[in-house]
Symmetry: C2
C-alpha cells in the first residue's frame, strides 16, 4: 500500500489539498466502483472502515531528503476484506486499502512536543484487488480530488516494490501490527518477505 | 483522552506488555461493562471501532525528557458514539474513547526512515462517559492487562487537564482531524478551547 517514498512524494506534491468534508456512508459490503473510462470512484466512506496502522515520516529511500515537514500515513481497509483477512490471513477479491496522508502539526493547543494530525487531507491513494479487472490482480490509484482517479501505470515503482517486498500478496502487512501476527500464524507470509527478514511462519 | 505526558509515562512505565492477540467482537451497540468491584472490562473489540487519529511522541510538558524511544498513540471510539458526534458535535452517554499505545519501529523490512508501529501493545487507556455512574460524567481507566482496570482517581492530572483544555466536553477533539471541523460547524467547542486558541465557532 505504501508506495515508495519517491513515488509518494511525486504524487503528493501535485495533489490539491483535499480539505472537503467527506460525507459518511455505510461501510458494509463496499466494493470498488469505476467510471465508464475506468477511473476509480473516491471511496467516500473509508474513514468508517477498519483502521490498520499509521506510519510517520516513513521512507524507503535512505538518500531521500526530508520534505521539510512531517507526514502521517493512515491505512484503512474495507470491513469485508478485513474480516476475511482475520479468518484466513489473505486478502479476498475486491479488497480496497486506502492510504490517507495528513501533515504533522507540532506545537498547538496544549501539545508541546511531537506531532498530531492536521485537519487537511494531503493525499489519498487506494490499492485495489480486482482479479478479473487487473492483469496483476491489484492496481494503485492516486486521487487529486475527492471524485475519481486514474490508475497508476503498471510501470510505476509502487508495483515492483510491493511485489518484491510485500509481506502478504503484494501488500505491506509487515507494517500493520494486528495483521502481521495473523499472517504468521496462518502461514500466509510471502516467500520474499520470509527470505528478507528470516521470519518463520506459524509462530 | 490523551493524558498528560507525565501521567501517561507513569502509567505506561508500569504497564505489562499486552502482547495477547485480541479476539474480535461485533462493534455495534457496545457499552462500558463493569465488574462487581466497579472495574472496567477490557473493550475487547476496540480495533473494529471507528478510528479518530494518531499522535507521535506527543507531550504536554516541554521540560519532560524524551523516553528514549518513539511512541504512537492511536485513538478509537465506539461506533454509536461516533455516529452521534457526526450528527450533533457532542458525545452521547456511554461514549468510550480508547487510547492505544504502540512503540515506533525505525529501520525494518524496507523502511529506512521514520517510524511504523510495532506489534506489541504497550498500553491502553479508556475514557468513559457514563453520566449516572461518575460524578463528573467521565472517568479514565488504565489497563495493565487485557482483563479489567481500576478507575484512575479523580485527583489525577488527566481529569483537570482534560477539563481545562478539551475542545469538546473534556475530550481532545482538537487532535482528531475529522471531528474538529464538525465541532466547529455545530458550535460545540468549549469556551476554554475557544479562548485558548481564538478559534471561532460556526466556520
Amino acid at each position: 500500500m505504501l508506495t515508495s517514498a519517491k513515488t509518494a512524494l511525486l504524487s503528493f506534491a501535485v495533489l490539491l489539498p483535499l480539505a472537503v468534508f467527506l460525507p459518511r456512508m455505510p461501510a458494509a459490503g463496499v466494493s470498488p466502483e469505476y467510471t465508464a473510462k475506468g477511473e476509480l470512484q473516491f471511496p467516500t466512506g473509508y474513514r468508517d472502515w477498519v483502521y490498520l496502522s499509521t506510519g510517520y515520516d516513513m521512507s524507503y529511500n535512505p538518500a531521500l531528503q526530508s520534505p521539510g515537514h512531517h507526514m502521517f500515513d493512515n491505512v484503512f481497509v474495507n470491513p469485508d476484506a478485513y474480516k476475511s483477512f482475520v479468518e484466513k490471513g489473505t486478502w479476498p477479491d475486491k479488497t480496497m486499502l486506502v492510504l490517507e496522508v495528513r501533515g504533522g502539526e507540532g506545537k498547538g493547543s496544549i501539545n508541546q512536543k511531537g506531532s498530531y494530525q492536521g485537519t487537511e487531507l494531503m493525499g489519498l491513494e487506494v490499492h485495489v484487488k480486482d482479479e478479473a479487472r487487473f492483469p496483476g490482480k491489484w492496481a494503485f490509484f492516486s486521487f487529486d480530488d475527492t471524485k475519481t482517479a486514474k490508475m497508476i501505470p503498471l510501470t510505476a515503482d509502487c508495483y515492483s516494490c510491493h511485489a518484491a517486498h510485500g509481506a502478504v500478496d503484494t501488500t505491506f502487512v509487515q507494517f500493520y501490527p494486528t495483521l502481521l501476527p495473523i499472517a504468521r500464524a496462518k502461514g500466509t507470509l510471502s516467500k520474499a518477505y520470509q527470505k528478507e527478514t528470516g521470519a518463520p511462519q506459524g509462530q
